[in-house]
């Protein structure tokens, strides 16, 4: 419910007038449609009475034309206004979701491991625009039409109005509720079946090599088709229910039309209305009912929104409001002192980092190695203040990283394993490091990362779209673009998080050479998986299960550490 209150409710308030206007236009559309048949019915009946003067028909003739033109026009405006409003709401909802994710950006991967959570959430937000267009608008329009019809009948005959109200309630309340109740279970079943199919087929496509070699293709095919037809069965039930429902609602509409016809006849017989209105009332019934029938379809979508809202709610629960503090700025000497730091994710487990003690002077080059789960990422998160040590202290330039707040990224930059390059030009991507950089500065950094020749050889140079063909930039080149961005940011400390994974050895070596050259003079913490270029590092640190297992320079370790020697031989492939 929290997500509903945060994402749906405020928009209903904020845009209530414009939404009301769109709904009113929606109401007018159906009204104009039924008034068109109403006046047309009246016109013909009056004409059949052959009035003495044609001027008697002047008003209905004008009205028929007016309603004839009004209906499509109002409908057109209503659709544009409705969509415009919803897209405005979409912008608001996107910003809200962005805020929720931004505050926990560094933890999304670890908190929500399942698949492409970010893409799913973006789809969810997109999906929630249907709440307005497909559910709220048609339902409220139907309610207005209901009120209109009942009230106008009540003017003539309250009892009959009551009777029609009861009939209409079947259409706008009973059927929708039954649909909602009956279909929810089926909808959930369909969803589950489809998710299962999705998982199965993803396993087949991504694991295709194993399926081919194992010769289990036929086995998979029959299993998949069986599951698929099981899902189809539920969908078929939903579809059949829909078909039957529209049939039943149409029959009901026909019956209501007869009621109205008979009622108009008796009213005319009593002399309450002119006989010329009999055809008018009878014929106006179906067009107005057409505006009420869609409520069932509108309401049955609710479970789907609930699912999207649940997922958003799941994200929202982790949002914590941090008290605004005056962020610190860096002093003159960006030394890093890690003093007996221990960190527990969970007190019951072993510590992720245990009693780490390190001193990194400005300008030093540090290599950090370790197996997956050794504590490298924990150390990185501590250094940028995303988490704080359970015990011990960590200081950058004399202050705790957390005290820097967002300013920490003016002190430390990070080049991660898969730096994200945005779907915009190369220049814009680089400028993210410093939007106010001059063209010369941009040119300088691409020279430093040795991309200048390549970029200038492209037809659009720096204005080349990053993603145009998807293949324009290789893995090594993408890392260089990201490195250029970091250079433009120009922070005293740079952390490189496994920048060369997935690159072949020659590209790896060249990239590392460029990195060392370009970042000369800065404090460099290189998290790496290979030993290439470690000869040039001031300190090499191996982490193992949260503890430092080896520490020293390349020469020291080669001299004293048998294990390091063995790893080094392995890495270079002794020949």
């Amino acid at each position: 419910m929290k997500a509903f209150q945060k994402y749906i409710l405020p928009n209903l308030k904020k845009y209530r007038w414009i939404m009301f206007f769109a709904i009113f236009l929606g109401f007018l559309t159906f009204l104009a449609a039924s008034m068109l048949t109403f006046t047309a019915g009246y016109l013909i009946t009056r004409a059949a009475e052959r009035p003495y003067n044609i001027l008697m028909l002047y008003v209905p003739i004008v009205l028929v034309r007016a309603f004839g033109i009004a209906r499509p026009t109002v409908h057109y405006i209503e659709r544009l206004i409705g969509h415009n409003t919803v897209l405005k709401i979409l912008a608001d909802m996107r910003v809200k979701l962005y805020d929720a994710l931004e505050s926990q950006a560094l933890f999304i991967r670890s908190r929500f491991q399942t698949g492409d959570i970010v893409g799913t959430l973006a789809d969810d937000i997109e999906h929630l625009q249907d709440v307005y267009i497909r559910t709220i608008f048609p339902t409220v329009v139907a309610l207005f039409l209901f009120l209109f019809m009942v009230i106008s009948l009540a003017v003539f005959e309250p009892l009959f109005a009551l009777w029609i109200a009861l009939c209409l309630i079947i259409i706008i309340v009973v059927y929708p509720l039954i649909s909602l109740y009956m279909l929810k279970k089926h909808q959930i079943a369909v969803k589950e079946k489809r998710n299962k199919l999705y998982r199965m087929f993803t396993d087949a496509v991504l694991g295709i090599s194993d399926w081919i070699i194992s010769g289990k293709k036929d086995h998979f095919l029959s299993k998949f088709m069986k599951e698929s037809s099981a899902a189809d069965k539920f969908e078929k039930k939903l579809a059949h229910w829909n078909h039957s429902r529209s049939f039943q609602l149409q029959v009901l509409s026909g019956i209501i039309l007869i009621f109205v016809g008979i009622w108009a006849g008796t009213e005319a017989a009593k002399g309450d209305i002119a006989p010329a209105f009999i055809a008018a009332f009878t014929l106006a019934t179906l067009p107005i009912l057409e505006g009420m029938v869609p409520v069932s379809t509108a309401v049955e979508k609710i479970p789907a929104y609930e699912e999207s809202l649940d997922r958003i709610e799941n994200i929202e629960q982790y949002v914590v409001k941090e008290p605004e503090k005056q962020p610190a700025t860096l002093g003159p000497k960006p030394e890093i002192i890690i003093d007996h730091v221990t960190y527990y994710y969970d007190k019951k487990d072993r510590p992720a980092l245990n009693n780490i003690h390190l001193n990194i002077q400005p300008g030093e080059k540090i290599a950090l190695l370790g197996k997956s789960g050794a504590g490298k990422s924990t150390l990185l998160n501590l250094l940028i203040g995303a988490i704080s040590p359970t015990s011990g202290t960590i200081r950058i330039g004399g202050k705790a990283p957390k005290d820097y707040g967002e300013n920490i990224f003016d002190v430390v930059s990070i080049l991660n394993q898969k730096p994200y390059l945005f779907a915009t030009t190369v220049e814009n991507n680089i400028r993210l490091g410093n939007p106010s950089a001059s063209r010369e500065e941009v040119e300088e950094v691409i020279r430093k990362v040795k991309l200048d020749q390549y970029i200038h050889s492209l037809p659009y140079g720096l204005n080349t779209q990053m993603e145009e063909s998807g293949q324009r930039f290789s893995g090594g080149e993408r890392q260089r673009v990201a490195l250029a961005r970091i250079l433009l940011k120009d922070t005293p400390i740079v952390i490189l998080d496994e920048p060369t994974v997935g690159l072949d050895p020659i590209t790896e070596r060249k990239l590392l050479e460029t990195i060392f050259e370009a970042l000369e003079g800065k404090t460099l913490i290189l998290i790496t998986h290979h030993l290439m270029k470690l000869e040039q590092m001031d300190q090499i640190i191996f982490l193992d299960r949260g503890e430092i297992s080896m520490h020293g320079t390349h020469e020291e370790l080669m001299r004293t550490d048998e294990r390091y020697r063995k790893l080094y031989e392995l890495d270079t492939g002794k020949y």
Partner: protein, 584 residues
């Protein structure tokens, strides 16, 4: 209209059935109008109630039959749509297996998955909506027109004149909207993707200290997107508008014209009323087709894309199987002039490869990125066929490595082995679902998985893969090796299994792997030179050609391509063909 529509099984029968139902439905519509008119007039004239009621009941019967026929039509088309979609899905899945891994990567595995599930489902909706709507458009207006002509010529003329105008406008506006969309498509796409792009790059933005400020960009771009969308919609909605406008204006015109003629006494009241009731029915089918046009577009597009995939040439042609004995110490594989050309790109990835291996050997394959190491592995393991060349096993010619008798003998371990969504035990026993728990544990022990299994709360029954616990790169390799080990298959293929691992894990995995490679025929493609020490034979590939082969010692003595490659990797000399090539 879609040509493929006639090619599906039962499509002609369905079209005929729906057509016949529509004819009856049209008759019901006319009867319905006829008796509603009669009933109204009876009441209007203050005649006997029982007469009016009997007319009303005929009206109601016609009304019910009409909607019952609609229901029947929905059922019939639904059945056809469901069967056709399911048929297509089966063909699609079979095709995916026939294509093999490389074309799948080319189409994009995400695209393939979306097409097979959402695409098929959209396609079904398209069939379900389009067939009845389209036939209604062809039949119902004609039926009504015949009746109207029969009763009143002038109204018939108005009806017949308006329809072409309506259709021309529909087509014209559709074209304009499409052109406008195409013209702005790139910009539009960029705006609409901006949000997802921002979310995916959130960590990077955070690291750059730009994430807080970026929310304004999201708001701005969303609003730009809104403005450009509305601009497109203004045109797109015009097509519905023109449909509505002409149909509702024609109704107005017809009723005025009817009124005028009634005054002059040139017409019967009943006929006029019936024509008035029929007028909206005349336009409804076209309006519905127009309204659903956009809803069915996705499905039509999906159908097109599915057919595109189905028409792609198979990389793995089903060739007649040649019985082969299991590979043993005496077996021999001889490859002569093996060439692989990717037909679509016309690129030769393997050019006249010649080598032979005998018995249990470990064959290393090395070369620069893009030289053809993976292509060679792909051909030898049968993920793809070869273009020309002669392959003999024990002197017997085989048409391709895709044949089942070879496939049954091999295992394949890539850089990122796929972990299926299931338990640890299911993943290990993936090739051998009937393996006992002891066998699984034995494989896990040999591949060093026991510490992991002990650490997992569910042990062997812990869920891994999609939606389950994530594994590290080293753990994935161990699972893949355990999987391979359990099969006891004699031929193993490795494609760069350790380059992405940290050096310590690589060391551990290597120690564990070497004994498992004994008494097997192993093909091992890698950049990591240390593996070459443990190979019996090495193939050096450069730009699709086999430039050197021999034992590692021979190649070192030869001081040729192999030595140059080693030197280049160590950064000592520049290899002549390096600068052109970057990554795999």
């Amino acid at each position: 209209m879609d040509k493929n529509l006639f090619k599906y099984k039962n499509s002609k029968r369905t079209l005929t059935t729906v057509g016949v139902i529509t004819v009856f439905q049209t008759i019901a519509i006319i009867i319905q109008a006829l008796y509603l008119g009669k009933a109204i007039i009876t009441i209007y004239e203050g005649a006997n109630w029982s007469v009016a009621l009997s007319f009303f009941s005929i009206f109601l019967t016609a009304h019910i039959s009409r909607h019952f026929l609609q229901w029947l039509k929905s059922r019939v088309t639904y059945k056809f749509a469901e069967e056709t979609a399911s048929q297509l899905q089966r063909q699609f899945v079979e095709k995916v297996f026939a294509l093999g891994p490389k074309p799948i990567t080319k189409f994009g595995s995400g695209n393939i998955i979306t097409l097979c599930l959402e695409g098929i489902s959209n396609f079904r909706t398209y069939l379900e909506l389009f067939i009845p709507r389209f036939l209604a458009c062809l039949i119902t207006p004609v039926g009504i027109l015949i009746y109207v002509f029969y009763t009143d010529l002038l109204s018939g003329v108005i009806f017949i004149v308006v329809m072409p105008i309506l259709i021309v406008f529909l087509i014209l506006l559709g074209l304009v909207a499409k052109r406008q969309k195409d013209k702005k498509w790139a910009n539009y796409l960029m705006l609409s993707r901006h949000f997802v792009d921002s979310l995916r790059g959130l960590v990077t933005l955070k690291f750059l200290g730009r994430s807080k400020g970026h929310r304004d960009a999201i708001y701005d771009v969303s609003n730009k997107y809104r403005i450009s969308t509305i601009r497109t919609l203004r045109i797109a909605f015009l097509s519905t508008f023109s449909l509505d406008f002409f149909s509702s204006l024609s109704i107005a015109v017809i009723s005025v014209e009817l009124g005028l003629r009634l005054i002059n006494g040139n017409m019967e009241f009943l006929d006029a009323l019936i024509i008035l009731i029929l007028a909206p029915e005349y336009f409804t089918p076209v309006r519905e087709l127009g309204n659903d046009y956009h809803a069915t577009m996705d499905g039509k597009e999906a159908g097109k894309k599915i057919h595109q995939v189905l028409e792609t040439a198979d990389e793995r042609t089903n060739l007649a199987d040649v019985p082969l004995p299991f590979w043993n110490g005496q077996s021999e594989l001889k490859v002569t002039d093996l060439t692989k050309v990717y037909s679509e790109e016309g690129r030769t990835v393997l050019d006249q490869i010649n080598f032979s291996v005998k018995g249990y050997q470990k064959v290393g394959i090395i070369g620069l990125s893009g030289a053809g190491k993976s292509s060679l592995i792909d051909v030898l393991s049968g993920f793809t066929g070869f273009t020309s060349g002669l392959v003999e096993i024990n002197g017997k010619k085989i048409p391709a490595f895709t044949i089942p008798s070879w496939q049954k003998q091999i295992t394949y371990i890539p850089q990122h082995p796929y972990i299926f969504s299931g338990t640890v035990a299911e993943n290990i026993a993936w090739y051998q679902p009937d393996a006992t728990e002891e066998e699984i544990l034995e494989a896990a022990r040999k591949t060093g998985l026991m510490p992991l299994i002990r650490e997992l709360p569910g042990g062997l029954n812990e869920q891994i893969g999609q939606g389950g616990r994530a594994l590290s790169g080293g753990e994935e390799q161990r699972i893949a090796l355990a999987r391979a080990l359990l099969t006891k298959r004699p031929v193993m293929f490795f494609d760069e299994p350790t380059a992405h691992l940290d050096i310590e894990t690589e060391h551990e995995i290597k120690e564990m792997m070497l004994p498992l490679m004994e008494n097997k025929l192993v093909f091992f493609a890698t950049h990591r030179l240390h593996w070459m020490n443990d190979m019996d034979y090495v193939l050096v590939i450069d730009r699709g050609r086999l430039v050197e082969q021999g034992t590692p010692e021979e190649l070192l003595r030869k001081n040729g391509a192999f030595v140059r490659l080693i030197e280049a990797q160590r950064g000592r000399v520049e290899h002549e063909s390096i600068p052109k090539i970057y990554t795999t």
